[in-house]
Amino acid sequence: MKRRKFLSSLTNLTLLIISGSVVKTTLRGAVETYLTDTAGAKKRFTMGIQTQKCIGCGRCVTACKTENNVPEEPFYFRTWVEHYVVKKDDSVIVHSINGGSGEISENIKEHDVLRSFFVPKLCNHCENPPCVQVCPVGATFKTEDGIVLVDEDRCIGCSYCLQACPYGARYIRPATHIADKCTLCYHRIKKGLNPVCVEVCPTQARVFGDLESGASPLVRLKRMKNTHVLKPALNTEPKVFYTDLDGAVK
């Protein structure tokens, strides 16, 4: 009996060692494949916006205009910040902050306010971008990393994309008559920098990252918070998402 017990425990032990080494090798293999996979993997860049953190200073708007040579006049924006005031009678007053200088013109009494907040807006880099669909010459296109860009050599300036964008994210450059919009600072992010609005945001209201990355502030934000996109009913599938977005935001 004793001998049999000894034998069985011996076999158990060998099994354990063998299986352990098997687990170890498979684990190592998994890690290796994970690393090689992620190194050459497709990227899906986007931005998450924490509305509750935005202080409406407008630094992102001015920095964006500098970085991307957007005309200074208040009719052209790649990104802008909306100021919402929901009053107790459920009426909503909205205003766009022009680089921090704009103020709601209407005199709002503080005790009439139910809630109030800021919402930064930019191109949503939709998965189904209507602007790409309607561009007659294919000047607007989606890159492999999911960013919607405009080919300025091809754009004929017909403005159909402006009509098709549900978010008002596009404008025509007055000097060149070419459609322009947020590129998520493509020239920066491909060199490892943050988009400029993310860079200058003082409260981390804007979070930039790659949705395909295993761990990043962006992915964490998406995991931990209630997220929402703008105008989901239009099935444009925006990649830019918002946390704690108020229902009054359109």
Partner: protein
Amino acid sequence: MSADFERLAAILKQVTGYIYPNEIEIHWSILIVVYPYITGLVAGAFILASLVKVFNVKEVLPTYRLSLLTALSFLIVAPLPLLFHLGHPWRSFEIFLTPNLSSAMAMFAFVYAWYLMVVLLLEIWFEYRTDMIAWAGALKFPSNLFYRIISLFSSDTSEKATYFDKKAIKAITVIGIPSAFILHGYVGFIFGSVKANPWWSSVLMPIVFLFSAIVSGIALILLLYMVITPSRGEQLDMKCLDRLASLLLYAMIVAFSLEGLDFLHRLYESEESIKILSDMVINRLFISLVVMQILFGMVVPLGILMLVKLARFNDELRKLLYFVSAILIQIGIFSTRWNVVFGGQMFSKSFRGLTAYKLEILGVEGLLTALFLLVLPFLILALLLKVLPPWGKIINQDASVAS
């Protein structure tokens, strides 16, 4: 550019509510109003012409060739407003040669080329072939060379050949009717397929466009017929006029019902956008929509035409009433296009505010350009009437054969 900024700053003062900051400027200007108006006339005139050949509406035969030439002269001008409106007109060839196949606008090239080359030019060519041969024979060198070239040096005037012409015309017209439907229905689709825009986004849009096109086309031919015939010292064919007027009436009834249905549907469904759209109709489009389009462009001419049908007026009064209604209809249809194009751009896609449109007088996208583009087809038509006169002995023969 600084003038642009001043203009936009002035518009900014008229903005009510909240609009996205990029939405202050209205990008599709009066030229984009002219474009569907002109294509509508093309489609309408062609469909009228087809009635003669396909449905054997013999009374309107005197307008057959006129309709074809009108359709052609307007079709030649149709792409010009688009071209003038582009930020980079010299790149427009890309639409034809490297189009994005998912774009409704890119299909313009194919629809246009198909309609121009396969339908309109072909039908005109077959219709005028024997005439062109005759004119080439009657004229001396070098003016006969022109007719020799455009008749593609064809010379066969045998009975067999003319029979083939007739067959070909019939076949082309049969293809032509759906093509005309596609041409203008497609213009409606350019607007109707923009899902972001509740003023435009509607399945009815192509059909509404089509019927308003038929209305405007018939009204235009009626006007042209009434102006050109007396100027040539000939009598107006009252049978033809009456028939044109009743066709116009039927087309208007359909168009009016469709527009009414669209309106009721929107009102009854009362979607998210209804508040801002009604705000816009009342504060921005009241004159152009309620007064110009519905009252003067639709209700009044509809009433006149019905009255004429019921009462027994004499010829002179009928002529006057037809003329007045046809002019009102043209104004009405132009307002329809105006309201579609500007209505879709005056409200913000945030549904919280309205911007304004200030019509420029000068400038590429101004009133003068629009007027020029509206006059240009008539100049081309005048030229075509000189080169390919619709009133030859051929048409009288046709008429006698038909009757």
